[in-house]
Assembly symmetry: C2
Homo-oligomer: 356 residues x 2
């Protein structure tokens, strides 16, 4: 069966403000020192497995130019632009419908556009295994990440102990982000995985699940999929997409469906969820600082400093994130990186839209 | 007797980097919200007491244009430009020689150019009293500031208990910056004042003391003073000034001379010695933040934020100083503001002179 990939690239990446902006969110930025953007990495690590003409990008109309500039190898008809954000279920459902229409059926690798993978060979091996499982009839397959510490920022997948067949486990349930005590219990129990947001299934399988658990979405997708490939597609998408229910695939399908399987992976996955990730994924100096740009740091420890064109002098500070751009500067305690949305809310309330 | 003032304006103001630069140090900046520069304030608060034509500015050749722009009321021949820094003794000695030549003798108010005074009427009253004491024959008079807390960043003046006559006290000795325990003892004893660096004496008195305690300086000044008022002055100054001993007036004269008097003042003096001073001299918000410029602060306490043209977003930080300029940004712990010189040393070693 044909293997396709659907890359979800409509996110706003607000936790990477001020580098990430409404006009150019995280997936289109380079957060590593190699200059490659997050979405370029996502596509490059896939192409040994999936041909560019079988890779679909679902993004927002505002980001079409970024996609065509950064990913010229992806055919234009594979780039689908949502006129408004509707969370992951409509995005995935629409892509599944289009793939079903185009290829009758195919395996879909559903992947975020803004995560990092360190061991790419292992990652592709795991995807291959998952694709085989999906092809052989397993309803819904998700990649779980073997946890290495009690992270409280991720959702978890509990699998049925002893259910493993060739490295594929039955999912017992999905669980929300835990507190640190619960996360420690999960780590100890050995039956919990991090929910990576990577899914593998046949287009026909996910569409059947959507029909069962999200009938409104299922119905709403019909005219859009019908219009795909015709001159009216853009117009129909513009009219119809906003009427679809805004829902995540996790809540809409995964927490309700049965016969879900997970494949544990340990290929060095990082969701790059906040500025704190930079010190995990990049080199830190002997004082624990992650520094890029023109920086002088003195008596400074465990800071993340991402400079622009001007000099940044850090003196006597610890556990601080400093991010400088042409028109906005962030100075943030490491414990507050999840609150960047408060700044954006403040800027919105002051109608400083040029800074969002 | 004529009353003159000598304003010392050759300092580099390094502790206010990055706003203060080699090319435009602290005394030529506005650090308050009223837009007036420090040296403009110094002159304005003096003019009810001393006519502009009797005010002398001793500065560095590099700052002549700042002086003429900011203080057009001061006659050009009163602005004396040192070709190189030689600390306060040569500066004051040269001014005293010039005043002696010009007016035979006069009272000199010797004043820093970069301090703040809150109660200006009281300040002028104290200067008047000091000038009278100097005129009546007291050798050297210094203004002491009644301490209000155990500051460790200032030198102190110990006066002889019970020696007061009309508010003028005999100085017992000058003491170096104390540790905090010693500073507490000083505060309790009631016989210690902060050394403000403001001196009042007759030109003839200070010259006599220089002749006695710094004969090399005294001799070196002769050709410079001789040339003052002639077309050769600039040339002679350029040749001679660098040969003068680099010494402070405190160490060279005040710690050695006898018959020194002090007048305690409590007119709200602030030496504006570091970025920390800004929260003393300007308005702070209800979270204790001193904020100027385009700033969004959230969960931020006791920070000093001095912005430029771009937005600064401060999130979850405490006791931090953030100073932004076009080409350099400082993020500094409040306990490290005295170490800004370390940054400047680093920039010098990297030959980043454009940032100094």
């Amino acid at each position: 069966m044909r293997m396709t990939a659907v890359i979800m690239a409509g996110g706003k990446g607000e936790r990477f403000w001020p580098k990430s902006r409404t006009a150019c969110p995280k997936q289109f930025l380079s957060l590593t020192t190699d200059g490659e953007t997050m979405i370029q990495k996502t596509v490059r690590r896939l192409t040994p497995l999936v041909k560019p003409e079988d890779i679909f990008i679902v993004t927002n109309t505002a980001y079409l130019s970024h996609v065509s500039e950064q990913l010229p190898e992806i055919p234009a008809e594979n780039v689908i632009a949502e006129p408004c954000p509707r969370n992951t279920a409509p995005c995935i459902g629409m892509a599944a419908g289009i793939i079903r229409k185009k290829y009758d059926d195919a395996v879909m690798l559903v992947l975020p556009s803004d995560h990092l993978i360190h061991a790419e060979d292992m990652y592709r091996d795991t995807l291959r295994k998952a694709a085989l499982a999906a092809e052989q009839g397993m309803n819904l397959v998700t990649l779980g990440i073997t946890p290495t510490y009690p992270e409280t920022g991720y959702g978890y997948i509990k699998y049925v102990s002893g259910s493993g067949r060739n490295g594929v486990y039955q999912v017992e349930r999905f669980v929300e982000k835990p507190d640190v005590e619960t996360a420690r219990d999960y780590l100890r129990s050995g039956c919990y995985l991090w929910n990576s947001g990577m899914f593998i299934w046949k287009a026909s399988s996910i569409l059947a699940n959507i029909a069962q658990f999200m009938p409104e979405l299922s119905d709403g997708l019909v005219p859009i999929v019908e219009a795909y490939g015709t001159p009216h597609f853009g117009e129909v998408l513009e009219q119809q997409f906003s009427t679809l229910p805004s829902e995540s695939i996790d809540y809409g399908i995964m927490e309700k469906a049965e016969h879900i399987f997970t494949i544990p992976g340990s290929f060095g996955w990082d969701d790059v969820g906040s500025w704190l990730a930079l010190e995990r994924i990049n080199h830190t100096d002997h004082e624990g600082n992650m520094i890029s740009g023109d920086v002088v740091s003195i008596d400074t420890k465990n800071c993340t400093i991402s400079g622009g064109t001007r000099l940044i002098a850090a003196l006597g500070v610890e556990d601080i994130v400093i991010v400088d751009t042409q028109d906005a500067l962030l100075v943030c305690d490491k414990n507050s990186t999840q609150d960047i949305k408060k700044i954006l809310a403040e800027l919105r309330s002051k109608e400083r839209t040029e800074l969002l």
